[in-house]
Symmetry: C2
Subunit: 224 residues, 2 copies
């Protein structure tokens, strides 16, 4: 009797993705480039934070940015103002970046002249968490107005993240945000998670994050 | 020579979905139940708005809620406090609700004793916009802290929406939010879009939206 041929498309897609992510890792190890993938909900402040990080680190490192967007180029234009190389990835409806898209972006970038590449992922707390992009650091932003309960509702994102940035702390007084609840629950599912609190708008706390990032970039550059 | 069999899985999925959405429409037309599908980013205030709407409309209508969540039941528990019937849909990683999920929820609900069913979709501005759930009204929330540029970055969501609710206006003074830019660009892609501004926390403006919703519910109930 014939058997049913069962194809788990999602598993296939993720396995293919992992292969390309490993190619990216090998390439960027060779080039000594640090890759930081930044994820968050729409409107959490990814672009504003990236601009603040560029402003503090551009004297030390040569920086490139990969901007993921469904349709628009408005974030790329903001990054261009900093004088940084930007590659725009338009997903045309797609809700996340995958490793193949990042590989295509890298192929267009001057890799011999870069130390740090920042990926601004699609604004979405769900699907981006499933796709390994070969990054050295997965970062995510949770902005204060979104609420601390996101740790309960989107656990995968907090699990794949190495650095959680709690942003917009300048408006903390106007929202009921329980930072201790967030920290406790985040460390329960991801004990090594680094947590930073900052406001990219006022600058408060941004140095703490960039010092951490600088150390990671230097460590990779110094690897044998 | 053999030809390649080409299966556009996404097209198949959306066509199957549309068929189920039409079944839902037929069922709820027969039962004279109004179905409101509410979408937004994570943390825009869907649950808080639903609680405010229930509080204002529960004396007039019999209300049920379908709660879509990836993992948790924390929103359902908040809705239960209002005394409303709640069905929890757990997607287990899935980034949107589809019509089959809603149909399954409806099969468990006391349809002869309901006038209004509210769907709280998964917090995501991308994928939920693609799936017709058979709703009489697609609503979306954009909260002030997210910024008005979401109209440029997530255009499909604003196109499939009948009522756009700009929420958290009580913190308008602490953010650079250009309401006129939003209105102008939203009406450019969706000329019949109704736009409401409110704060579910303070109650400001909530009546304007519930009066609009009440009229739609009554119009459907009075349809021949």
């Amino acid at each position: 009797m014939k058997e049913i041929t069962y194809i788990d498309l999602k598993k296939c897609i993720l396995e293919d993705n992992d292969g390309v992510a490993n190619e990216i890792r090998t390439l960027l190890k060779d080039k000594k480039i640090f890759l930081w993938n930044l994820m968050s909900s729409p409107g959490s402040g990814k672009t504003t934070l990236i601009k603040a990080v560029i402003s503090l680190l551009k004297a030390k490192f040569r920086i490139g940015v990969i901007e993921g967007d469904i349709e628009s180029t408005c974030d790329s234009k903001k990054i261009l103002e900093t004088g940084t190389t930007v590659v725009q990835l338009r997903t045309g409806g797609g809700c996340h970046l995958d490793a193949s898209m990042v590989k295509k972006a890298l192929e267009t970038m001057p890799l011999d002249d870069l130390d740090l590449i920042i990926i601004e992922n699609i604004g979405n707390l769900v699907c981006p968490a499933e796709f390994d992009l070969g990054a050295d650091l997965n970062g995510m932003i949770l902005s204060v107005p979104e609420g601390e309960d996101k740790i309960i509702k989107y656990p995968l994102m907090f699990t794949v993240t190495g650095a959680l940035i709690v942003s917009k702390i300048d408006v903390m007084d106007y929202f009921d945000f329980d930072l201790e609840f967030l920290k406790k629950n985040a460390h329960a599912i991801n004990e090594n998670l680094k947590i930073f609190t900052l406001s990219a708008r006022t600058g408060e706390g941004v140095n703490g994050f960039t010092n951490y990032l600088q150390k990671l970039i230097e460590d990779k550059a110094n690897e044998k």
